[in-house]
Amino acid sequence: MRPSAARLLNIIVPIKRAVDYAVKIRVNPEQTGIDLNVKHSMNPFDEIAVEEAVRIRERLKDAVKSIKVVTIGPPKSAETLRTALAMGADSAVHVEIPESAPSPEPLGVAKTLKALIERQKEGVDVVILGKQAIDDDAGQTGQMLAGLMGWSQATFASKVEVDPEQKVANITREIDGGLEELRCLMVRFIRNIIFHHSVNFRLFQEPRYASLPNIMKAKKKPVEKLTVAELGVDIAPRLETIEVTEPPKRVGGGKVANVDELLAKLKEAGVTGKRA
Protein backbone atom coordinates (compact mmCIF):
# COMPACT_ATOMS: atom_id res chain seq x y z
CA MET A 1 0.00 0.00 0.00
CA ARG A 2 1.31 3.41 -0.90
CA PRO A 3 1.44 5.87 1.89
CA SER A 4 -1.54 8.16 1.64
CA ALA A 5 -1.36 11.90 1.66
CA ALA A 6 -3.31 11.92 4.87
CA ARG A 7 -1.98 14.36 7.35
CA LEU A 8 -0.42 13.27 10.57
CA LEU A 9 -2.41 14.57 13.49
CA ASN A 10 -1.04 16.37 16.49
CA ILE A 11 -3.50 16.35 19.36
CA ILE A 12 -3.44 18.47 22.48
CA VAL A 13 -5.43 17.59 25.59
CA PRO A 14 -5.64 20.23 28.31
CA ILE A 15 -6.27 18.69 31.74
CA LYS A 16 -6.93 20.01 35.23
CA ARG A 17 -6.12 18.77 38.69
CA ALA A 18 -9.26 19.09 40.78
CA VAL A 19 -10.69 17.91 44.07
CA ASP A 20 -11.65 14.26 43.60
CA TYR A 21 -15.27 13.88 42.60
CA ALA A 22 -16.07 11.57 45.50
CA VAL A 23 -14.86 13.99 48.19
CA LYS A 24 -17.54 15.62 50.28
CA ILE A 25 -16.24 19.17 50.20
CA ARG A 26 -16.27 21.64 53.09
CA VAL A 27 -16.19 25.42 52.91
CA ASN A 28 -13.12 26.81 54.71
CA PRO A 29 -13.59 28.85 57.91
CA GLU A 30 -12.53 32.11 56.19
CA GLN A 31 -15.27 31.53 53.58
CA THR A 32 -12.79 32.28 50.80
CA GLY A 33 -13.06 28.87 49.19
CA ILE A 34 -13.16 25.25 50.19
CA ASP A 35 -10.80 23.15 52.28
CA LEU A 36 -8.28 21.91 49.72
CA ASN A 37 -6.50 19.50 52.05
CA VAL A 38 -8.35 16.62 50.46
CA LYS A 39 -7.74 14.04 47.77
CA HIS A 40 -7.26 15.52 44.31
CA SER A 41 -7.28 13.73 40.98
CA MET A 42 -7.69 14.46 37.30
CA ASN A 43 -10.97 16.20 36.46
CA PRO A 44 -13.13 13.24 35.30
CA PHE A 45 -14.17 14.97 32.07
CA ASP A 46 -10.52 15.48 31.21
CA GLU A 47 -9.86 11.80 31.85
CA ILE A 48 -12.43 11.05 29.16
CA ALA A 49 -10.69 13.54 26.86
CA VAL A 50 -7.31 11.80 27.34
CA GLU A 51 -8.96 8.43 26.85
CA GLU A 52 -10.58 9.59 23.61
CA ALA A 53 -7.28 10.94 22.27
CA VAL A 54 -5.66 7.57 22.94
CA ARG A 55 -8.58 5.79 21.26
CA ILE A 56 -8.37 8.02 18.22
CA ARG A 57 -4.78 6.86 17.90
CA GLU A 58 -5.81 3.24 18.36
CA ARG A 59 -8.32 3.68 15.53
CA LEU A 60 -6.14 5.68 13.18
CA LYS A 61 -2.80 4.09 14.06
CA ASP A 62 0.09 6.04 12.51
CA ALA A 63 -2.09 8.94 11.43
CA VAL A 64 -1.81 10.30 14.96
CA LYS A 65 1.67 11.68 15.40
CA SER A 66 1.50 13.02 18.92
CA ILE A 67 -0.73 13.37 21.94
CA LYS A 68 0.39 16.13 24.24
CA VAL A 69 -1.25 16.87 27.58
CA VAL A 70 -1.13 20.31 29.12
CA THR A 71 -1.97 21.62 32.54
CA ILE A 72 -1.87 25.03 34.14
CA GLY A 73 -1.58 24.69 37.87
CA PRO A 74 0.52 24.45 41.00
CA PRO A 75 3.52 22.09 41.34
CA LYS A 76 1.28 19.19 42.44
CA SER A 77 -0.43 19.23 39.03
CA ALA A 78 2.64 17.30 37.81
CA GLU A 79 1.01 14.14 39.23
CA THR A 80 -2.02 14.71 37.05
CA LEU A 81 0.21 14.99 33.98
CA ARG A 82 1.93 11.70 34.90
CA THR A 83 -1.45 10.00 35.13
CA ALA A 84 -2.29 11.20 31.62
CA LEU A 85 1.12 10.05 30.33
CA ALA A 86 0.50 6.62 31.88
CA MET A 87 -2.85 6.49 30.07
CA GLY A 88 -1.02 6.87 26.75
CA ALA A 89 -0.16 10.51 26.08
CA ASP A 90 3.37 11.01 24.70
CA SER A 91 4.52 14.21 26.32
CA ALA A 92 3.34 16.92 28.65
CA VAL A 93 3.57 20.63 29.29
CA HIS A 94 3.25 22.02 32.78
CA VAL A 95 2.57 25.74 32.97
CA GLU A 96 3.40 26.14 36.60
CA ILE A 97 1.79 28.70 38.86
CA PRO A 98 2.62 29.20 42.55
CA GLU A 99 0.76 27.10 45.13
CA SER A 100 -0.72 30.29 46.55
CA ALA A 101 -1.84 31.73 43.21
CA PRO A 102 -5.56 31.95 42.56
CA SER A 103 -6.95 29.40 40.16
CA PRO A 104 -6.98 30.98 36.70
CA GLU A 105 -10.34 31.70 35.09
CA PRO A 106 -11.37 30.00 31.84
CA LEU A 107 -10.42 33.08 29.80
CA GLY A 108 -6.89 33.05 31.28
CA VAL A 109 -6.58 29.33 30.61
CA ALA A 110 -7.80 29.79 27.02
CA LYS A 111 -5.21 32.53 26.42
CA THR A 112 -2.47 30.34 27.85
CA LEU A 113 -3.52 27.43 25.63
CA LYS A 114 -3.55 29.72 22.59
CA ALA A 115 0.00 30.84 23.36
CA LEU A 116 1.04 27.21 23.74
CA ILE A 117 -0.62 26.15 20.49
CA GLU A 118 1.20 28.94 18.68
CA ARG A 119 4.53 27.65 20.00
CA GLN A 120 4.04 24.17 18.54
CA LYS A 121 6.37 23.95 15.54
CA GLU A 122 4.37 21.20 13.90
CA GLY A 123 1.06 22.85 14.49
CA VAL A 124 -1.93 21.42 16.31
CA ASP A 125 -4.84 19.75 14.58
CA VAL A 126 -7.21 18.82 17.34
CA VAL A 127 -7.68 20.01 20.90
CA ILE A 128 -9.81 17.82 23.13
CA LEU A 129 -11.06 19.15 26.45
CA GLY A 130 -13.45 18.01 29.11
CA LYS A 131 -16.76 19.82 28.95
CA GLN A 132 -16.33 21.34 32.39
CA ALA A 133 -14.19 21.15 35.49
CA ILE A 134 -16.02 19.71 38.47
CA ASP A 135 -14.66 22.38 40.81
CA ASP A 136 -15.70 25.67 39.18
CA ASP A 137 -18.41 24.08 36.99
CA ALA A 138 -17.88 26.91 34.46
CA GLY A 139 -17.75 24.95 31.19
CA GLN A 140 -16.25 27.77 29.13
CA THR A 141 -12.60 27.09 28.35
CA GLY A 142 -13.00 25.14 25.11
CA GLN A 143 -15.44 27.60 23.57
CA MET A 144 -13.22 30.52 24.58
CA LEU A 145 -10.17 28.87 23.05
CA ALA A 146 -12.08 28.13 19.82
CA GLY A 147 -13.15 31.77 19.71
CA LEU A 148 -9.61 33.07 20.25
CA MET A 149 -8.24 30.74 17.59
CA GLY A 150 -11.15 31.22 15.18
CA TRP A 151 -11.45 27.44 15.02
CA SER A 152 -14.32 25.07 14.61
CA GLN A 153 -15.82 23.84 17.88
CA ALA A 154 -18.00 20.94 18.90
CA THR A 155 -19.12 21.00 22.51
CA PHE A 156 -20.59 18.09 24.50
CA ALA A 157 -19.39 15.53 21.98
CA SER A 158 -20.58 12.00 22.47
CA LYS A 159 -19.10 10.44 19.35
CA VAL A 160 -16.09 11.41 17.28
CA GLU A 161 -14.90 10.15 13.92
CA VAL A 162 -11.74 11.79 12.65
CA ASP A 163 -10.89 11.30 9.00
CA PRO A 164 -7.35 12.56 8.39
CA GLU A 165 -7.58 11.86 4.63
CA GLN A 166 -10.67 13.97 4.10
CA LYS A 167 -9.42 16.41 6.72
CA VAL A 168 -12.75 16.40 8.53
CA ALA A 169 -14.13 15.17 11.81
CA ASN A 170 -17.74 14.08 12.20
CA ILE A 171 -18.90 14.75 15.70
CA THR A 172 -22.17 13.89 17.40
CA ARG A 173 -23.11 16.32 20.15
CA GLU A 174 -25.55 16.12 22.98
CA ILE A 175 -27.96 19.03 22.85
CA ASP A 176 -31.04 19.87 24.91
CA GLY A 177 -33.63 17.36 23.79
CA GLY A 178 -31.47 15.09 21.66
CA LEU A 179 -28.42 14.81 19.45
CA GLU A 180 -26.86 16.86 16.68
CA GLU A 181 -24.24 15.86 14.15
CA LEU A 182 -21.62 18.26 12.84
CA ARG A 183 -18.84 18.08 10.30
CA CYS A 184 -15.76 20.04 11.34
CA LEU A 185 -13.04 20.90 8.86
CA MET A 186 -9.35 20.60 9.56
CA VAL A 187 -7.06 22.51 7.29
CA ARG A 188 -3.74 22.95 8.91
CA PHE A 189 -2.84 26.45 10.01
CA ILE A 190 -6.16 27.75 8.87
CA ARG A 191 -8.68 25.90 10.91
CA ASN A 192 -8.67 23.09 13.25
CA ILE A 193 -11.09 21.74 15.73
CA ILE A 194 -11.70 21.90 19.34
CA PHE A 195 -14.13 19.60 20.94
CA HIS A 196 -15.18 18.55 24.32
CA HIS A 197 -16.39 15.34 25.58
CA SER A 198 -19.42 14.97 27.58
CA VAL A 199 -19.59 12.10 29.90
CA ASN A 200 -21.66 9.53 28.18
CA PHE A 201 -20.09 6.21 28.93
CA ARG A 202 -22.35 4.36 26.56
CA LEU A 203 -20.43 6.00 23.76
CA PHE A 204 -17.21 6.77 25.53
CA GLN A 205 -15.74 3.82 27.27
CA GLU A 206 -14.56 4.06 30.85
CA PRO A 207 -11.14 5.68 30.92
CA ARG A 208 -8.49 3.02 31.24
CA TYR A 209 -6.55 2.44 34.41
CA ALA A 210 -2.86 2.95 33.96
CA SER A 211 -1.04 -0.37 34.43
CA LEU A 212 2.14 -0.51 36.48
CA PRO A 213 4.43 -0.91 33.43
CA ASN A 214 2.75 2.10 31.85
CA ILE A 215 3.18 4.11 35.03
CA MET A 216 6.90 3.22 34.97
CA LYS A 217 7.11 4.20 31.30
CA ALA A 218 5.34 7.46 31.98
CA LYS A 219 8.16 8.48 34.33
CA LYS A 220 10.48 8.61 31.31
CA LYS A 221 8.22 10.67 29.08
CA PRO A 222 9.15 14.33 28.60
CA VAL A 223 7.45 17.05 30.64
CA GLU A 224 8.19 20.60 29.56
CA LYS A 225 7.96 23.23 32.29
CA LEU A 226 6.91 26.76 31.46
CA THR A 227 5.68 29.82 33.25
CA VAL A 228 2.88 32.16 32.39
CA ALA A 229 5.46 34.94 31.97
CA GLU A 230 7.38 32.91 29.38
CA LEU A 231 4.17 32.55 27.41
CA GLY A 232 3.48 36.26 27.71
CA VAL A 233 -0.10 35.90 28.93
CA ASP A 234 -1.96 37.55 31.74
CA ILE A 235 -4.03 35.11 33.78
CA ALA A 236 -4.97 37.33 36.70
CA PRO A 237 -8.61 36.69 37.60
CA ARG A 238 -10.93 39.40 36.32
CA LEU A 239 -13.82 38.44 38.56
CA GLU A 240 -13.57 38.98 42.26
CA THR A 241 -14.69 36.18 44.57
CA ILE A 242 -16.41 37.85 47.50
CA GLU A 243 -17.18 34.72 49.48
CA VAL A 244 -17.87 31.03 49.30
CA THR A 245 -20.62 29.69 51.52
CA GLU A 246 -22.40 26.47 52.36
CA PRO A 247 -25.65 25.97 50.45
CA PRO A 248 -28.79 25.91 52.57
CA LYS A 249 -29.03 22.50 54.20
CA ARG A 250 -31.92 20.34 53.22
CA VAL A 251 -33.15 18.04 55.95
CA GLY A 252 -35.08 14.91 55.15
CA GLY A 253 -38.61 14.69 56.44
CA GLY A 254 -38.49 11.12 57.68
CA LYS A 255 -39.99 7.93 56.38
CA VAL A 256 -43.45 6.57 55.87
CA ALA A 257 -44.47 2.96 56.31
CA ASN A 258 -46.47 2.24 53.17
CA VAL A 259 -47.95 3.53 49.94
CA ASP A 260 -51.11 4.83 51.62
CA GLU A 261 -49.10 7.01 53.97
CA LEU A 262 -47.04 8.17 51.01
CA LEU A 263 -50.20 9.11 49.13
CA ALA A 264 -51.52 10.97 52.18
CA LYS A 265 -48.30 13.02 52.26
CA LEU A 266 -48.63 13.76 48.55
CA LYS A 267 -52.23 14.84 49.01
CA GLU A 268 -51.18 17.10 51.88
CA ALA A 269 -48.77 18.80 49.48
CA GLY A 270 -51.53 19.16 46.90
CA VAL A 271 -50.26 16.42 44.62
CA THR A 272 -52.97 14.19 43.24
CA GLY A 273 -53.29 12.09 40.13
CA LYS A 274 -53.65 13.80 36.80
CA ARG A 275 -57.26 14.29 35.89
CA ALA A 276 -57.55 12.26 32.76
Binding site: V19, Y21, I25, I34, L107, I134, D135, D137, A138, G139, Q140, Q143, M144, L145, G147, S152, Q153, T155, F156, S158, N170, R173, E174, I175, D176, G177, G178, L179, E180, E181, L182, R183, C184, L185, N200, R238, L239, E240, T241, I242, E243, T245, P247, G252, G253, G254, K255, V256, N258, V259, D260, E261, L262, L263, K265, L266, A269, V271, G273, K274
Partner: protein, 348 residues
Protein backbone atom coordinates in the same frame (compact mmCIF):
# COMPACT_ATOMS: atom_id res chain seq x y z
CA UNK B 1 -14.74 66.35 67.42
CA UNK B 2 -12.99 63.06 67.07
CA UNK B 3 -15.89 61.70 65.14
CA UNK B 4 -15.75 64.55 62.67
CA UNK B 5 -12.05 63.94 62.15
CA UNK B 6 -12.63 60.33 61.34
CA UNK B 7 -15.36 61.06 58.88
CA UNK B 8 -13.07 63.49 57.09
CA UNK B 9 -10.34 60.88 56.91
CA UNK B 10 -12.73 58.28 55.60
CA UNK B 11 -14.13 60.47 52.93
CA UNK B 12 -13.39 58.98 49.56
CA UNK B 13 -14.32 60.57 46.32
CA UNK B 14 -17.74 59.21 45.47
CA UNK B 15 -18.46 58.63 41.82
CA UNK B 16 -21.55 60.39 40.72
CA UNK B 17 -24.32 58.28 39.24
CA UNK B 18 -23.68 59.73 35.84
CA UNK B 19 -20.30 58.07 35.42
CA UNK B 20 -21.44 54.46 35.41
CA UNK B 21 -23.50 53.56 32.38
CA UNK B 22 -26.96 52.54 33.45
CA UNK B 23 -27.39 48.83 32.83
CA UNK B 24 -28.62 47.72 29.45
CA UNK B 25 -28.93 43.98 29.02
CA UNK B 26 -29.06 42.02 25.80
CA UNK B 27 -31.02 38.80 26.32
CA UNK B 28 -30.47 35.96 23.91
CA UNK B 29 -33.96 34.52 23.40
CA UNK B 30 -33.94 30.90 22.29
CA UNK B 31 -36.83 29.23 20.58
CA UNK B 32 -37.87 25.90 19.17
CA UNK B 33 -40.57 25.27 16.58
CA UNK B 34 -41.83 28.82 16.78
CA UNK B 35 -42.07 28.90 20.57
CA UNK B 36 -39.85 30.69 23.04
CA UNK B 37 -37.91 28.43 25.39
CA UNK B 38 -39.11 28.90 28.93
CA UNK B 39 -35.50 28.93 30.17
CA UNK B 40 -34.99 32.09 28.09
CA UNK B 41 -37.98 33.64 29.86
CA UNK B 42 -36.19 33.01 33.17
CA UNK B 43 -33.10 34.68 31.72
CA UNK B 44 -35.28 37.69 30.86
CA UNK B 45 -36.47 37.88 34.49
CA UNK B 46 -32.85 37.85 35.66
CA UNK B 47 -31.96 40.59 33.14
CA UNK B 48 -34.84 42.74 34.42
CA UNK B 49 -33.38 42.50 37.92
CA UNK B 50 -30.35 44.53 36.77
CA UNK B 51 -32.66 47.53 36.90
CA UNK B 52 -32.04 48.98 33.46
CA UNK B 53 -33.12 48.59 29.87
CA UNK B 54 -33.56 45.11 28.46
CA UNK B 55 -33.25 44.30 24.77
CA UNK B 56 -34.19 40.89 23.44
CA UNK B 57 -32.49 39.17 20.53
CA UNK B 58 -34.14 36.51 18.39
CA UNK B 59 -31.96 34.76 15.82
CA UNK B 60 -33.15 32.04 13.49
CA UNK B 61 -34.34 31.02 10.05
CA UNK B 62 -36.63 33.29 7.99
CA UNK B 63 -39.45 30.72 8.45
CA UNK B 64 -39.23 30.72 12.26
CA UNK B 65 -38.32 34.25 13.28
CA UNK B 66 -41.57 36.11 12.45
CA UNK B 67 -43.78 33.96 14.68
CA UNK B 68 -41.25 34.05 17.53
CA UNK B 69 -41.03 37.85 17.25
CA UNK B 70 -44.82 38.02 17.40
CA UNK B 71 -44.75 36.25 20.77
CA UNK B 72 -41.59 37.89 22.11
CA UNK B 73 -42.66 41.49 21.58
CA UNK B 74 -45.40 41.08 24.18
CA UNK B 75 -43.06 39.89 26.89
CA UNK B 76 -42.98 41.82 30.13
CA UNK B 77 -39.71 43.57 30.78
CA UNK B 78 -38.52 44.01 27.20
CA UNK B 79 -37.92 47.53 25.98
CA UNK B 80 -36.65 46.63 22.53
CA UNK B 81 -36.66 43.47 20.47
CA UNK B 82 -34.01 42.83 17.86
CA UNK B 83 -34.35 40.02 15.41
CA UNK B 84 -32.18 38.60 12.71
CA UNK B 85 -33.23 35.98 10.20
CA UNK B 86 -31.07 34.15 7.70
CA UNK B 87 -31.00 30.62 6.30
CA UNK B 88 -27.58 30.25 7.89
CA UNK B 89 -29.18 30.62 11.33
CA UNK B 90 -31.50 27.64 10.83
CA UNK B 91 -29.28 25.79 13.27
CA UNK B 92 -27.34 28.06 15.54
CA UNK B 93 -23.70 27.16 15.05
CA UNK B 94 -21.39 29.18 17.30
CA UNK B 95 -19.08 29.78 14.33
CA UNK B 96 -21.83 31.50 12.34
CA UNK B 97 -23.74 33.23 15.16
CA UNK B 98 -20.71 34.67 16.97
CA UNK B 99 -19.90 37.27 14.27
CA UNK B 100 -23.42 38.67 14.54
CA UNK B 101 -23.13 39.01 18.31
CA UNK B 102 -19.64 40.47 18.05
CA UNK B 103 -20.89 43.11 15.66
CA UNK B 104 -23.80 43.93 17.95
CA UNK B 105 -21.48 44.24 20.95
CA UNK B 106 -18.63 46.07 19.28
CA UNK B 107 -17.13 49.43 20.24
CA UNK B 108 -20.14 51.71 20.26
CA UNK B 109 -22.49 49.12 21.75
CA UNK B 110 -24.93 50.34 24.39
CA UNK B 111 -24.99 46.95 26.10
CA UNK B 112 -23.50 46.38 29.54
CA UNK B 113 -24.67 42.80 30.03
CA UNK B 114 -25.27 39.77 27.81
CA UNK B 115 -27.69 37.27 29.29
CA UNK B 116 -28.95 33.85 28.29
CA UNK B 117 -30.30 30.64 29.73
CA UNK B 118 -27.70 28.07 30.73
CA UNK B 119 -28.79 25.96 27.75
CA UNK B 120 -26.62 23.75 25.59
CA UNK B 121 -26.85 26.21 22.72
CA UNK B 122 -26.04 29.36 24.71
CA UNK B 123 -23.28 27.54 26.63
CA UNK B 124 -21.64 26.88 23.27
CA UNK B 125 -22.07 30.39 21.84
CA UNK B 126 -21.66 32.91 24.67
CA UNK B 127 -18.17 32.01 25.94
CA UNK B 128 -16.87 32.07 22.35
CA UNK B 129 -18.15 35.63 21.93
CA UNK B 130 -16.94 36.71 25.39
CA UNK B 131 -13.41 35.53 24.62
CA UNK B 132 -13.38 37.45 21.36
CA UNK B 133 -14.33 40.58 23.28
CA UNK B 134 -11.71 39.72 25.93
CA UNK B 135 -14.14 39.54 28.83
CA UNK B 136 -14.83 36.73 31.29
CA UNK B 137 -18.21 35.04 31.60
CA UNK B 138 -20.16 33.86 34.62
CA UNK B 139 -22.00 30.53 34.29
CA UNK B 140 -25.26 29.33 35.74
CA UNK B 141 -26.07 32.16 38.15
CA UNK B 142 -28.77 31.76 40.78
CA UNK B 143 -29.05 35.40 41.90
CA UNK B 144 -27.69 38.81 40.96
CA UNK B 145 -27.51 42.35 42.20
CA UNK B 146 -26.38 45.35 40.20
CA UNK B 147 -24.87 48.40 41.81
CA UNK B 148 -25.62 51.31 39.52
CA UNK B 149 -23.26 53.68 41.32
CA UNK B 150 -20.16 51.60 40.73
CA UNK B 151 -21.31 49.75 37.62
CA UNK B 152 -20.54 46.40 39.25
CA UNK B 153 -22.72 43.33 39.28
CA UNK B 154 -22.55 40.68 41.99
CA UNK B 155 -23.69 37.15 41.21
CA UNK B 156 -24.11 33.95 43.18
CA UNK B 157 -23.52 30.63 41.50
CA UNK B 158 -23.19 27.03 42.63
CA UNK B 159 -19.74 25.44 42.46
CA UNK B 160 -18.57 21.90 43.27
CA UNK B 161 -21.83 20.40 42.02
CA UNK B 162 -23.86 22.74 44.18
CA UNK B 163 -22.02 21.83 47.37
CA UNK B 164 -20.81 25.41 47.76
CA UNK B 165 -22.17 28.75 46.67
CA UNK B 166 -19.73 31.28 45.28
CA UNK B 167 -20.43 35.01 45.28
CA UNK B 168 -18.50 36.82 42.53
CA UNK B 169 -18.35 40.44 41.55
CA UNK B 170 -17.81 41.72 38.04
CA UNK B 171 -16.61 45.28 38.41
CA UNK B 172 -16.97 48.17 35.99
CA UNK B 173 -13.56 47.21 34.57
CA UNK B 174 -15.45 44.49 32.68
CA UNK B 175 -17.31 46.60 30.12
CA UNK B 176 -19.71 43.85 29.05
CA UNK B 177 -20.69 41.25 31.61
CA UNK B 178 -21.68 37.91 30.13
CA UNK B 179 -23.69 35.51 32.22
CA UNK B 180 -25.92 32.46 31.86
CA UNK B 181 -28.87 31.90 34.14
CA UNK B 182 -30.00 28.82 36.02
CA UNK B 183 -33.63 28.80 34.92
CA UNK B 184 -34.93 27.08 38.03
CA UNK B 185 -33.74 30.04 40.14
CA UNK B 186 -35.83 32.68 38.32
CA UNK B 187 -39.52 32.71 37.43
CA UNK B 188 -40.29 32.81 33.73
CA UNK B 189 -41.23 36.27 32.44
CA UNK B 190 -44.81 36.39 31.27
CA UNK B 191 -46.38 37.86 28.20
CA UNK B 192 -48.24 40.75 29.66
CA UNK B 193 -50.56 43.56 28.95
CA UNK B 194 -47.59 45.89 28.80
CA UNK B 195 -47.11 47.89 25.64
CA UNK B 196 -45.53 45.91 22.85
CA UNK B 197 -41.84 46.53 22.68
CA UNK B 198 -40.29 48.24 19.72
CA UNK B 199 -39.14 45.74 17.12
CA UNK B 200 -36.10 46.16 14.92
CA UNK B 201 -34.63 43.88 12.27
CA UNK B 202 -30.88 43.41 12.06
CA UNK B 203 -28.85 42.52 9.01
CA UNK B 204 -27.28 39.11 9.34
CA UNK B 205 -23.52 38.75 9.24
CA UNK B 206 -23.07 36.08 6.61
CA UNK B 207 -20.18 33.71 7.16
CA UNK B 208 -19.11 32.29 3.82
CA UNK B 209 -16.40 29.93 5.03
CA UNK B 210 -17.70 28.51 8.29
CA UNK B 211 -15.38 25.76 9.48
CA UNK B 212 -18.30 23.72 10.76
CA UNK B 213 -21.26 22.30 8.93
CA UNK B 214 -24.48 21.07 10.48
CA UNK B 215 -25.46 17.63 9.26
CA UNK B 216 -28.54 16.69 11.21
CA UNK B 217 -30.42 16.98 14.47
CA UNK B 218 -32.37 14.16 16.04
CA UNK B 219 -34.59 15.15 18.92
CA UNK B 220 -35.94 12.63 21.39
CA UNK B 221 -39.67 12.42 20.74
CA UNK B 222 -41.93 12.42 23.74
CA UNK B 223 -45.45 13.52 24.51
CA UNK B 224 -44.55 13.99 28.18
CA UNK B 225 -43.64 17.40 29.59
CA UNK B 226 -40.10 18.62 28.98
CA UNK B 227 -37.83 17.58 31.83
CA UNK B 228 -36.24 21.00 32.23
CA UNK B 229 -39.50 22.80 32.98
CA UNK B 230 -41.92 20.12 34.20
CA UNK B 231 -43.64 20.77 37.52
CA UNK B 232 -43.44 17.08 38.37
CA UNK B 233 -40.61 14.66 37.67
CA UNK B 234 -40.47 10.89 38.14
CA UNK B 235 -36.88 9.72 38.06
CA UNK B 236 -35.40 6.23 37.96
CA UNK B 237 -32.01 4.82 38.83
CA UNK B 238 -29.96 1.69 38.40
CA UNK B 239 -32.50 -0.42 40.31
CA UNK B 240 -34.73 -0.35 37.21
CA UNK B 241 -32.73 -3.27 35.74
CA UNK B 242 -32.98 -2.51 32.02
CA UNK B 243 -34.47 -0.15 29.45
CA UNK B 244 -37.68 -2.15 29.12
CA UNK B 245 -38.33 -2.31 32.85
CA UNK B 246 -37.43 1.37 33.17
CA UNK B 247 -40.16 2.27 30.69
CA UNK B 248 -42.81 -0.23 31.78
CA UNK B 249 -42.37 0.77 35.43
CA UNK B 250 -41.93 4.53 35.27
CA UNK B 251 -43.99 5.64 32.29
CA UNK B 252 -47.39 4.64 33.77
CA UNK B 253 -46.55 6.53 36.98
CA UNK B 254 -45.34 9.58 35.05
CA UNK B 255 -48.57 9.53 33.04
CA UNK B 256 -50.71 9.14 36.15
CA UNK B 257 -49.04 12.23 37.62
CA UNK B 258 -48.63 14.19 34.39
CA UNK B 259 -44.91 14.17 35.09
CA UNK B 260 -41.73 14.23 33.04
CA UNK B 261 -39.35 11.28 33.26
CA UNK B 262 -35.79 11.67 34.50
CA UNK B 263 -32.92 9.31 35.19
CA UNK B 264 -29.80 9.06 37.29
CA UNK B 265 -26.44 8.85 35.57
CA UNK B 266 -26.19 5.21 36.54
CA UNK B 267 -29.41 4.49 34.65
CA UNK B 268 -28.21 6.46 31.63
CA UNK B 269 -24.76 4.85 31.58
CA UNK B 270 -26.34 1.42 31.80
CA UNK B 271 -28.46 2.31 28.77
CA UNK B 272 -31.86 2.24 30.51
CA UNK B 273 -32.71 5.78 29.54
CA UNK B 274 -31.72 8.35 26.98
CA UNK B 275 -28.97 10.74 27.89
CA UNK B 276 -31.29 13.72 27.51
CA UNK B 277 -33.16 12.49 30.60
CA UNK B 278 -30.16 12.62 32.91
CA UNK B 279 -30.62 14.69 36.06
CA UNK B 280 -27.52 15.87 37.90
CA UNK B 281 -24.31 17.84 37.68
CA UNK B 282 -23.57 16.57 34.21
CA UNK B 283 -27.17 16.46 33.06
CA UNK B 284 -30.12 18.72 33.70
CA UNK B 285 -30.77 20.71 36.83
CA UNK B 286 -34.44 20.59 37.74
CA UNK B 287 -36.46 22.15 40.53
CA UNK B 288 -40.02 20.87 40.14
CA UNK B 289 -42.84 20.96 42.69
CA UNK B 290 -42.49 17.19 43.03
CA UNK B 291 -39.41 15.05 42.43
CA UNK B 292 -39.84 11.31 42.83
CA UNK B 293 -36.58 9.39 43.07
CA UNK B 294 -37.15 5.68 42.46
CA UNK B 295 -34.29 3.29 42.98
CA UNK B 296 -31.82 6.19 43.13
CA UNK B 297 -29.24 6.11 45.91
CA UNK B 298 -28.60 9.85 45.82
CA UNK B 299 -24.96 10.46 44.88
CA UNK B 300 -23.62 14.02 45.29
CA UNK B 301 -23.73 14.54 41.54
CA UNK B 302 -27.38 13.53 41.33
CA UNK B 303 -28.41 15.68 44.29
CA UNK B 304 -26.80 18.66 42.52
CA UNK B 305 -29.46 18.32 39.86
CA UNK B 306 -32.59 18.07 42.02
CA UNK B 307 -32.04 19.26 45.58
CA UNK B 308 -33.94 22.50 45.02
CA UNK B 309 -37.15 20.60 44.26
CA UNK B 310 -40.04 21.60 46.45
CA UNK B 311 -41.08 18.11 47.55
CA UNK B 312 -38.68 15.19 47.25
CA UNK B 313 -40.11 11.69 47.52
CA UNK B 314 -37.76 8.70 47.59
CA UNK B 315 -38.48 5.00 47.25
CA UNK B 316 -35.50 2.74 47.82
CA UNK B 317 -34.90 -0.74 49.23
CA UNK B 318 -31.82 0.43 51.10
CA UNK B 319 -32.78 2.31 54.30
CA UNK B 320 -29.28 3.85 54.42
CA UNK B 321 -29.39 5.31 50.91
CA UNK B 322 -28.19 8.96 51.06
CA UNK B 323 -31.32 10.07 49.16
CA UNK B 324 -33.30 9.63 52.41
CA UNK B 325 -31.27 12.40 54.02
CA UNK B 326 -32.84 14.95 51.68
CA UNK B 327 -36.20 13.34 50.93
CA UNK B 328 -39.24 14.94 52.52
CA UNK B 329 -41.06 11.65 52.23
CA UNK B 330 -39.13 8.38 52.17
CA UNK B 331 -40.40 4.87 51.73
CA UNK B 332 -38.12 1.89 52.27
CA UNK B 333 -39.61 -0.71 49.97
CA UNK B 334 -39.27 -2.54 46.68
CA UNK B 335 -40.16 -0.03 43.97
CA UNK B 336 -41.54 -2.81 41.78
CA UNK B 337 -44.30 -3.33 44.35
CA UNK B 338 -44.72 0.33 45.28
CA UNK B 339 -45.01 1.87 41.82
CA UNK B 340 -47.89 -0.25 40.46
CA UNK B 341 -49.79 0.26 43.73
CA UNK B 342 -49.19 4.02 43.47
CA UNK B 343 -50.40 4.12 39.88
CA UNK B 344 -53.50 2.15 40.82
CA UNK B 345 -54.37 4.39 43.77
CA UNK B 346 -53.57 7.65 41.96
CA UNK B 347 -56.07 6.69 39.28
CA UNK B 348 -58.87 6.27 41.82
Amino acid sequence: MLKARISLLNRVPVRSYATAASPHALVFLEHRQGNLDSASLSALTAASQLGGQVTGLVVGSPEEVPSVVEKAKRLNGLTLLLHCASPQYTTLLPETVSPLLEKLLSQSSPFTHVVSAHSSSAKSILPRVAAKLDVPAVSDITSLEHDAASGSTTFTRPIYAGNAISTVRASSSIPIKFFTVRSTAFAAAGAGDAAESEVKALDSVEVSDAPTEHINTSLTKSDRPDLGVASRVVSGGRALKNAETFQSTLYPLADALGAAVGASRAAVDAGYADNSLQVGQTGKVVAPELYMALGISGAIQHLAGMKDSKLIVAVNKDPDAPIFQVADVGLVADLFEVVPELVEKLKQ
